[in-house]
Point group: C2
Chain length 255, copies 2
């Protein structure tokens, strides 16, 4: 772990988190992107611009991409790359004032180095550096046990199951129950803590999965497309995050 | 508000909550009831027995019913009646170690008097006495604004929508998005806070809805069957908890 960089990230996360909490006291200035449920707020843009500015000031040679596209165009994964989601779960941020997160993935030559997920309303920062375990607010995390799909909760959205996307109904029928939080970070954190055996999504953008892919890699947990292929960190993709004890079982049902 | 009774309830809730938190450190001793996802633990029974004992010691003439049936058989709603859910969301308690609650409804001659919901892992007690507003940990709650179904999140389980129970697909399609937490108390609390416009369930038992019905009555929020009929507090029923600004809109879609 690069401790200087780690301390900088913690400072940036807390500063950005405080500005998000403060923003909940005022008008959120919401704009629709592709539909009424696909929102962007002034704060999505401000937080992304803040990280971009701080990273570039500290590490001018690093590349940065983020959800709101106010960073830079990145065509190669060579060197060090930061992937940022300034607010994951913007609809929850606007409507619930909780269940949203800031996510940061750090990659070198395309390989995950570190991931950070900040559950702002809960005041919990999850982080992991590959090779060094996973922590919540600096305390080592001990996940709850997961043994089999039939003994596990799973996380995914309604339309995936209604349309039987990638045979997901078979996964739903075998699992103990379904939960849905409307926030990728919440699905990923539930798998990390062992509260759910898997989280699946029909399409995640790089900023939706980069932090989770890095943290789960550090834990030795599989993350892939439902057909088992690995993710390209510059491309949108369907994704399954799973506990190692149920990954193969889920993949067999989905293929 | 009967302040002596209120203080007793707070003491009982905290004592029971502490024993639930402590239980998460040990083996939960789970039994299946009707299926693998319908569980009861030693703690469901212990917490219910604890409330029953304390209530009967303090108020020998009050009647008490609870989920685990270790209370008493109640055939009439005359006099004062306590309705207890010792752990709402037992599956979450077992699998997630969070997203569960203790719920207490207090009724007199069949009319709601007070409701308590204790989100144990979050350390938050919601309470309301009819005529006196709603509080979280003693602080008056200001709900987030809810204007229309199309601008609201809703809460309900996957199978309700997959099977189009009571035309629920029309509600889903009009709403901004769906969330599902696997715990009635979490659905009710989300409507109370204004994070969701409605919570619907195909069947709730009296202990699943009694506290929420009392709190929402205190707030002036409607709670009914999807056909608009009111609930019988001694009978299981389909239930819709809704913000007043979207209740009629939802009911029209469901009938």
């Amino acid at each position: 772990m690069n401790n200087e960089l780690h301390q900088k990230v913690l400072t940036w996360l807390k500063t950005a988190g405080n500005s998000l909490l403060a923003s909940l006291e005022s008008d959120l200035e919401v704009e629709e992107k592709t539909s009424a449920s696909d929102l962007v707020t002034r704060m999505d843009k401000e937080v992304e611009a803040y990280f971009f500015r701080e990273i570039k000031a500290a590490y001018p040679n690093h590349q940065v991409i983020g959800e709101e596209g106010i960073t830079e165009e990145v065509k190669s994964t060579q060197g060090t790359l930061w992937i940022i989601d300034p607010i994951d779960g913007t609809l929850n941020y606007v409507k619930q004032h909780r269940c949203f997160a800031i996510m940061l993935g750090l990659y070198h030559d395309g390989q995950p180095i570190a991931g950070y997920i900040y559950d702002v309303a809960q005041g919990e920062i999850y982080h992991a550096w590959v090779g060094q375990g996973v922590y919540i607010n600096g305390q080592a995390l001990t996940p709850l046990p997961i043994n089999s799909l039939s003994e596990s909760l799973i996380i995914g959205n309604l339309v995936s199951f209604m349309t039987n996307w990638s045979n997901s109904q078979a996964v739903f029928e075998k699992a103990l129950g379904l939960r849905y939080y409307g926030c990728s970070a919440y699905g990923i954190m539930a798998v990390i803590r062992g509260e759910a055996g898997l989280y699946l999504s029909r399409e995640l953008k790089p900023w939706d999965f980069a932090a989770g892919l890095a943290i789960m890699t550090a834990m030795g947990y599989p993350v892939s497309r439902p057909d088992g292929r690995s993710l390209n960190i510059l491309e949108a993709s369907p994704v399954i995050f799973a506990h190692p004890n149920i990954y193969q079982e889920a993949l067999q049902l989905m293929n």
